[in-house]
Subunit: 159 residues, 2 copies
DNA sequence: TCAAGATAGTTTCAGATGAAACTATCGTGT
DNA sequence: ACACGATAGTTTCATCTGAAACTATCTTGA
């Protein structure tokens, strides 16, 4: 029970209604559910899957380009790539023009896995989105877009 | 560039339009921005802050009850509480009836910090939500609720 | 009453992660 | 030509995290 003094002293904070908390809980549940699938079926972590996802779309990216497109940092990318290379899912080639750059692409084996995962990923998303009507999905997408724009517009949240 | 064969072979997956990815990126940005504040000002991690948040509302919870209300597991709670106890922000008392249970509550010092954080947390949320109209906020809340219901209804996402 | 299983909470150990340091290469200005 | 700063990517180290094992206590049922 909340004391009167406390209630009056300041606004209450109910974790269940606090947007950052709700986002975090939902996202973790979704990520864990998906990670379980990727891991069980393909031995992939989510960072690894993300790298494969962008390489599946546009071959021959540098690690930096992968980092940009996956919203991961270069260290994460480096580690995910190292693991993927070791299991022959991704190959690294030197760039012709720039000795610092490595060109990354899916191996045939990586491509085969990619082709298997894409429908699975889309299916998982569809299962989740089955909770919403098409109109709601568009609305959700628009709202997430607005929030993302807002948060990236703030260098840090200023108080 | 995408080859025709590939495009026809299966639906494309664009990470930027993939809901789990978008949720993950948005949530991480929000969490990191907030964690920076909590950490800089109060030396609190997000798990620690969550524990304090629920203890601020209802004192004398067991660790298990804290875990339920924060969507954390008992190991996370145990660690967060250990750290909070060490810095005299939370106190642990034995339960009268059950020797296994510890009753957790904020110390006066913890309460003082809580009282300072709540307005900050609400402000951070408000800054984020400033991107949305009141109607959109309600819509967002409803959509997150639906998705949360959907994901928790699925033991794991079935394929 | 006491063995067996359930529950509360902690600890351990191994793998994941982030920040900073590091190596190697490139580009620029003098 | 070459010193200096910037950039690409990796490695190191210290911390965080999750899963499983562990301790202690409680509950149940023979």
């Amino acid at each position: 029970m909340q004391s009167d003094a406390e209630t009056l002293a300041h606004a209450r904070l109910d974790l269940d209604r606090f947007l950052p908390y709700r986002l975090s809980v939902l996202t973790n549940r979704v990520s864990n559910a998906i990670a379980r699938h990727y891991s069980e079926r393909f031995g992939l972590s989510i960072p690894e899957w993300r790298v494969m996802a962008v390489l599946g779309q546009s071959a021959s990216l540098s690690a930096r380009e992968v980092a940009e497109r996956t919203a991961m940092d270069k260290v994460q990318v480096s580690r995910a790539v190292a693991s993927l290379v070791e299991r022959r899912r991704v190959q690294r080639d030197g760039d012709d023009d720039d000795g610092r750059v490595t060109r990354l692409s899916l191996t045939p084996r990586g491509r085969a896995i990619y082709d298997e995962i894409v429908p699975l990923a889309l299916h998982l998303e569809a299962v989740l989105l089955a909770a919403l009507t098409p109109g709601e999905r568009e609305m959700l997408s628009a709202l997430l877009e607005k929030l993302s724009g807002r948060i990236s517009g703030l260098r840090a949240i200023e108080v």
